[in-house]
Symmetry: C2
Subunit: 152 residues, 2 copies
């Protein structure tokens, strides 16, 4: 869908400003198409993100700060997201022996299992709405990374 129709406006001050709004809107769009599927597993995007990060290092543990560094949204409050996952017994907390300030997080069998089912479901959804070619995806990745060239 054209951005003009998504936002009901055509007042863009430049192509670059339109691109900014287009990225923000597309990010919302991407989240919204998968949130229903995640809800079926009683997971939020952020909880799913944490589980995915933990699986990447499994069976190694990760401390809270190392999870935070890998989050898509860096301002995520990781301890609180872990609280919810811990209640559902999808992760386990232990205090690090080598540095008692650190809390080590491990994904449980149950966490791995729910991650596998939900990932499989999300992959199907993404495959079903796939409209761009691999070449176009590469191009998109290049443009986004060029956009973020300025370090802030």
């Amino acid at each position: 869908m054209k951005l003009e129709n998504a936002l009901l406006t055509n007042k863009f001050s430049s192509e670059a400003q339109k691109a900014t709004l287009n990225i923000l809107y597309t990010a919302w769009w991407l989240k919204s198409i998968t949130s229903k599927e995640l809800k079926d597993f009683d997971l939020t995007h952020e909880q799913y993100n944490v589980l995915r990060i933990l699986k990447g290092k499994y069976p190694d543990e990760l401390c809270v700060k190392d999870i935070a560094r890998r989050m898509i949204e860096k301002s995520s409050n990781v301890p609180r997201i872990i609280d919810r996952l811990e209640i559902k017994k999808l992760v386990k907390r232990t205090v690090s022996e080598s540095d008692k300030r650190e809390t080590l997080i491990t994904i449980t069998k149950s966490g791995l299992s729910i991650l596998e089912s939900s990932t499989s479901k999300l992959n199907k959804v993404h495959a079903s709405i796939q409209t761009i070619t691999q070449k176009e995806a590469e191009q998109l990745n290049c443009l986004l990374e060029k956009l973020r060239a300025t370090e802030v």
Copy 2:
């Protein structure tokens, strides 16, 4: 910055999946570089978004539902965002005469003034980190719209 460095991983199942994460991360990045500026005006991104929408139709009023339709994030709780803006006297609520279910929202002089100053500040920030050409921005817009081709 490369996405690999932003998320400290290189486990992407495809270019398309990487593009998905790249869009989500870039959206967060774009918000984060302007949130400090907005904070100086005691505005959140969503409050700014509502003011911008209202200015687009000024001096006409807009009802809550018409604002919601123009929001970047369609799941925004517009009545609550308007609550905060009303407390700060940046917008005004009136009940519609023609349909008493509707609440009409108008941006105040004070709202217009704060919108102008903050927009000017945001434009400066965006200009200072501008790294892509107009042609690249156009290309980016095309790719994002192609990505969203599937109606959901």
